[in-house]
Subunit: 433 residues, 2 copies
């Protein structure tokens, strides 16, 4: 057998806890075959997908259009973007078979970020000022070649995903776009009950590109939006800590151990638009250079997931939970009824297998525990695994067409019909509880 | 400006048509920065995502559990799987910075298929016969290093996605799993109205691994399931055309030009389980080797999309359409009403921006055409772009709180309330029309 390990490289307090919950709930694993690339197991994938779905729905309302962009790009693109010069050792180099590229250039970089690909898309057609802002979102896999010694669980990885977005806009639009990005940040963290964050503004470093006037204007836009959206007292400045290509706002979340983690970011960029020669046609008929804003709310989905595990201590709120309920038949004779109840609550098996299931429907993760252990033992195990609800069916329930349900955190048992359970679950999901 | 091209490498009839629809509807593009990797533009991404969502919902009912597995794996894994020996020149080699991997092995392969990663997951814990079949699905990006001369549009690419699935089961379960896979194939192609396909069975080649008895049994299982599910007359045999590791069933779809394309596939595999030393604990308490079934229904999502463009001639059925409706205000004074109507039909903007939008809701792609052209011109353009419905609002409609709607293919105009339109759209989506 090959040695596969469940997150063995976790050292810090947060990630040790992460590892044990990840293992107990079978959420993810790592393996020596790909250090730093997390394998999401089925239940971890459910949470991952739910986070993505959640953000996609919110981002669409904020005017983002999702794109799917390539993962490997020829060296020439990374030279244009500046990565080949400044970032080469942190990227994975990809080599094609040398006879396969007719232009003779078979060296690629595996992308560490989406920005250059989005510049290629922006540049693929001539945009007018009326088309701006163009807001692209992307969920691509990103790779950064971190040293293998530093890799831990979900937080220091080589492969990760971002809720990445780039806004291409006019200089006049920057303020409103930043304000909207901050509103989205507040909205999102609010849903997860993560109130323990602060925002920092980073101003121009000594070495920077662009004119002082451009920086004055950009810094003023960012700080006045911060005042307006988060309030004068609720952010602070990191002097000269901006990127050389533009000022930025970072969102730092404090975990239960008091440690701060950078999650969201909003960065202005004057440089990439210049390097890629991005242009739009202005109202004056002339070509102008758009401003580019890089922004992410979760930041790395993997790291955000690690923070969520910590924040909830593995007790997932219903809507995010990979295990909504388990149905436990009291004995052999109740197995069939248990199956029927699970199907009717989950909404998964209601349709015949030879007809297509409709797309927009509430589907819940409901399992049946058919093993031949006692109800007490199965209930305890279900709580360890993190099921939000435990549903027990015996003679009384089967005769009444009902179920006996208790929650993970409360022993009180309620007698409900499967429909009542399903409706309750729909309400929980829709209210993000 | 860099030269970005819309699918210029298309030569065959199918792909020329594909390219022109792809361009007209702004679905996707290619660029020299990444030959063979398609950039999906926002409207192409909508179709792509809908196909993925559709298949995820169906597969869940067939017992598949989605996983997210790494894209790069160390050379050692590809040696175990046999790819490094037989397939090296078709793979992209990935090199990390040499000091970054503490084991000194910094050569990776960018995965051309998911199977080895799924074997790693299977092997990460000891499974019992009661856990089988284990069915994993995966939507990872896959890369194959095709020669750049042969790359065309969506059909010959270097990067693609599959509705990939692997079933790990006992030898006794093979028949039922194949039968279910065939049922899913029939179900899926039926939804798209693709009836012009045939199935082929490929038997053992002269060079093969495994005993004659195993092959006899496997071939018998496949052919008797074919008889049962698709009917004796509806499949044919390709003698000795199976893989050296097992027999297979291929599904070939005939396009409008009579050309056949291989899309779905179902392959039995005795080899990978042996190479990876996969085992499960049987009812007898002993360790046994599971059978592995590779199966895909769409096959490459990119190629399936190309076939769909051809099949529908760019006239997307409502449920798959990236452009459900466009609202055209008759003049300046109707713009506000047009916006309100679009929001109420799409379901997108109904919620306040500072509250989270619920996840499970019908959302439609409804645009407003606010340009100052005539209604006639805008209608013609909307039809070219492929909107399924054109909604016109003027004085009469605004006063009555209604809209005048016509379909892409029928000039007849109906007067409806926004709610009636939305309900009609929900019905269309739910019935896959
Ligand atoms: Zn960026
Ligand atoms: Zn496979």
């Amino acid at each position: 057998r090959r040695s596969t390990q469940l997150l063995i490289r976790c050292h810090s307090t947060t990630s040790t806890k992460n590892a044990s919950i990840g293992q107990r709930q079978q959420l993810f694993m790592v393996d020596e075959a790909s250090p730093g690339s997390v394998f999401f197991l089925p239940h971890g994938t459910r949470i991952f997908n739910k986070l993505v779905q959640f953000m996609k729905v919110q981002q669409a309302r904020y005017g983002f259009q999702e794109v799917i962009s390539p993962l490997i790009y020829k060296k020439a693109l990374w030279e244009t973007s500046g990565h080949w010069d400044k970032y080469k050792e942190d990227m994975f180099k990809v080599e094609g078979f040398e006879n396969n590229d007719c232009d003779g250039n078979h060296t690629y970089g595996l992308k560490p970020m989406n920005c250059p690909g989005h510049c290629v898309i922006f540049n693929s057609t001539l945009r007018s000022y009326q088309d701006l802002p163009v807001r692209m979102s992307d969920w691509s896999s990103l790779h950064r070649n971190e040293a293998s010694g530093g890799l831990t669980g979900l937080t220091r990885v080589r492969r990760f995903h971002q809720d990445d977005g780039h806004i291409f806009c006019t200089r006049q639009q920057v303020g409103e776009e930043i304000a909207k990005s901050l509103r989205l940040v507040k909205l999102v963290y609010g849903v997860f009950g993560m109130d323990n964050y602060r925002m920092t503004f980073s101003s121009r470093p000594d070495e920077h590109i662009g004119s002082e006037q451009e920086w004055d204007e950009a810094e003023h836009q960012l700080t006045s939006v911060l005042d307006e959206v988060v309030g004068k007292e609720n952010w602070n400045t990191r002097d000269k800590d901006g990127a050389f290509y533009g000022p930025k706002i970072d969102i730092l979340l404090k975990d239960n151990f008091g440690k701060e983690h950078q999650i969201g970011t909003i960065q202005l960029d004057f440089q990439l638009p210049a390097r890629f020669g991005l242009k739009y046609k202005g109202e004056d008929g002339e070509l102008h250079q758009p401003v580019m804003i890089h922004r992410a709310v979760f930041g790395s989905v993997e790291r955000f997931l690690a923070l969520l595990i910590d924040h909830f201590d593995g007790k997932w709120p219903f809507w995010l939970s990979p295990r909504h309920a388990v149905v436990i038949p009291v004995n052999e004779t109740h197995k069939e009824y248990a199956q029927k109840v699970a199907a009717s609550i989950s909404g998964e098996l209601l349709e015949a297998l030879d007809a297509p299931a409709i797309l927009e429907s509430h589907r819940f993760n409901v399992d049946v525990d058919n093993r031949s252990d006692t109800v007490g033992l199965k209930t305890r195990e279900a709580i360890v695994k993190g099921y939000n609800y435990i549903i027990i069916v015996g003679d009384k329930e089967a005769e009444a067409g009902k179920v006996a349900m208790r929650s993970r955190d409360n022993r009180k048992i309620e007698l409900l019909s499967p429909d009542e359970v399903r409706n309750m679950y729909i309400k929980l999901e829709e209210s993000f509880e």
